[in-house]
Assembly symmetry: C2
Homo-oligomer: 430 residues x 2
């Protein structure tokens, strides 16, 4: 098949006609599929059902240090949970605060605290005329919603397969005191599945921000979420690197077990320098008496150690790897060589990033939806939901069963072709 | 025994001498007892161990509406949890948001949201020159810490056995637009154990605040926490009363199962009007994808309905009632008729409020501490930790075992006597 861009008007029209008939066929199927979010599927959730037996009525609910986890207290988490999550995050237990069930909530609270009370004695962001965040794009919509909600101006920074454009990041943060942070998903990024290179991490740790209260918001959501045993991405640990670079307080690092055990019933955590921790604790002690220690103990008893957790993640991978591979296979089969779309081939994480011809993403997602499959809203991967090229689509393979996913992928690629053809034809007639 | 105030200097000195010897005896015991906070004791926690079996690896973790509680989603809570907590709070399930493990966290977030984004389109509190809260005193220290943290000026309002001084409340909120809220523990109040009278609740619902964004922060922490079956306090339901009074949006009501099941691993909730709920949801959807639904289901399956929960609370009462009665007995035995202290006799809740002679509370708590028993810091029941009379002490009977409590109460009453005598003697010599 030759690229669409090399086809004549007649060839394009000839190509389009049967595709429209195929689309009608999909509509007759009255599909109701959802691949909009990065949700684990039922089989993945079943992997953690043993955790429901980790604590039981006859069990001793004391932590290692003797704390009765059922009662009040222990603001930063029980020791065994800190050890386990520390191993998962590759951080010292003493650098960790264990929170509730949602790392998103921790990130929101982190921005909110900076907004109301400032970071380490600096002026609260809410008292400043202007605050800005750097946003590698495409990126995670829920990150962008937080900064938008707090009126923080978002500056898009292009992503590359080795991380954000670091020349641009270095220049902007060193020039502009209003820039207070950057959103990063450094490993198996959302939505591309890219991992930051060693050089990128080293340059992050050596940033020279104009603002003393600039922080890297390092959302390592997919630190152990590999798809393959033999082809895995690795990431330099950022807290260590910042310390080595003489910038120990530069980063807030977030993680959770949401996609290890149960989304919504996992445990979230933050790792950062002791200075930052103390600053956070001054607020946290006002906000709560402590987080859910029973659930912390449940996780610690279920996994026992990081090796069991990594073994557990291999089981996740065995379930979702075929879904990623199926999508890549169908994308290649239906779109390969046509020059109307490119897509990433991640080795971990929860997403594939798909780029259409400029101006096509919204129309494609709309058409897929009318065919019965909900995808992430086009534009969602950009600040304010506005993709200037209208070309990026986030594809989430994990939730639907494999056969549904096949149908959805066929419909999606069909819509990519139809919309691209219509676009090319309309440009010819202009 | 005649009141100390009627004694001569010689009589007072004679009284004091043997007490000081008794105190030395306590110090030799090297006690290490903690009655500083309203913590349930081990036997109370054991009551809920069955909840650890409510979910297990073979259980179906679907909510009534089919939601897989293990996965993401459901921002306001699963239906059966809303029904259960609704019954506990005496509110419609549709008026309820189920949160995480801590109602204190919900209250903090409620103030924080008003501070950063305002209530229902009003100017954010953080953008105003001055904001104020009314604080019935003595009251709950953690409430006061939240408003202090946000720089909200706190105005003490005297508590009475029927609730706050409502003449003062009505006058202040109608006159001063800077007054944005009032902290209330309306039933078995912290620390007195008072419950608001019908008239008080009706007057609350009919407040005419100058500020459109004034809200009553109604922390009904002890709604079902009775000590007696036959002598219980009742409270008019505030949301209903506000609606009847034509002020449907006037109140945020908070509650949790922290002292029903496990502190720190219960579920917290907020009940309010649909208008307020919508306003809150606009923020909540930015902050999180959802709270811990597995724990919601665990609670719902364990209790099944409100009757079982009330039966469960009778078991709590059977454990802690003797502790309250023991304290009252020892207080009466050791202090009755001396005119150096008064104390409340609550029919529910977690505290007894003790009032010393003016200027004695801090010295008493210090002396008790040197004797080996930690109590709530004197002053904590007042905004900014400053009790102008230095007379109020919060007594928390629930946590220590009965025999420890007896020792602690003997030490406490001994210290009340010693400090009061020293005070009276020093006044004579002035």
């Amino acid at each position: 098949m030759k690229p669409y861009s090399e086809m004549t008007r007649e060839e394009l029209q000839e190509e389009l006609l049967p595709l429209r008939k195929q689309y009608l066929h999909f509509q007759e199927m009255e599909l109701q599929l959802d691949m909009s979010r990065g949700k684990p599927c039922r089989e993945q959730l079943d992997l953690s059902m043993g955790m429901m037996d980790a604590l039981y009525s006859e069990a001793d609910l004391s932590a290692e240090d003797g704390t009765d986890v059922r009662n009040y207290g222990v603001l930063t988490g029980i020791p065994e949970a800190k050890v386990l999550i520390g191993a998962m995050m590759e951080n010292n237990p003493e650098n960790i605060i264990i929170y509730g069930n949602s790392s998103l909530n921790v990130m929101y609270d982190t921005v909110s605290r900076a907004y109301t009370h400032g970071i380490m004695g600096n002026i609260p962001w809410g008292k400043l005329q202007k605050t800005k965040f750097l946003c590698p794009v495409p990126g995670y919509d829920r990150h962008f919603k937080i900064t938008e909600y707090f009126g923080i101006e978002m500056i898009p920074v292009p992503m590359t397969p080795t991380g954000p454009d670091m020349d641009m990041v270095e220049r902007l943060v060193s020039e502009d005191e209003a820039i207070k942070g950057i959103w990063c998903v450094p490993k198996y990024s959302n939505p591309q599945g890219y991992s930051y290179s060693d050089e990128t991490v080293r340059r992050f740790a050596r940033l020279k921000p104009a603002a003393r209260d600039f922080r890297i918001f390092w959302d390592n959501a997919y630190g152990i979420h590999h798809l393959y045993d033999d082809h895995q991405d690795y990431l330099i640990e950022i807290l260590d690197e910042c310390r080595r670079a003489g910038n120990p307080d530069l980063v807030y690092k977030f993680s959770s077990t949401s996609k290890v055990t149960f989304p919504g019933s996992g445990i979230a955590a933050l790792a950062t320098s002791l200075n930052n921790l103390q600053d956070i604790m001054n607020q946290l002690k006002i906000q709560t008496i402590g987080h859910d220690k029973v659930n912390q103990l449940r996780h610690a008893r279920f996994f026992k150690d990081i090796n069991a957790m990594k073994e557990h993640m291999r089981k996740h991978a065995a379930i979702i790897r075929p879904k990623f591979e199926l999508l890549e296979e169908i994308f290649e089969k239906n779109l390969g060589g046509l020059g109307i779309g490119t897509w990433t081939k991640p080795r971990g994480g929860y997403f594939i990033s798909f780029d259409t011809l400029p101006g096509c993403a919204k129309a494609i997602v709309d058409k897929v939806k009318k065919g019965g499959v909900v995808m992430t809203t086009a534009g969602a991967t950009w600040p304010y939901g506005k993709d200037p090229q209208d070309s990026n689509i986030r594809v989430a393979p994990t939730y639907p069963p494999l056969e549904d996913l096949r149908t959805a992928a066929e419909l999606f690629t069909l819509c990519v072709k139809i919309i691209s053809l219509e676009k090319l034809l309309s440009e010819m007639s202009e």
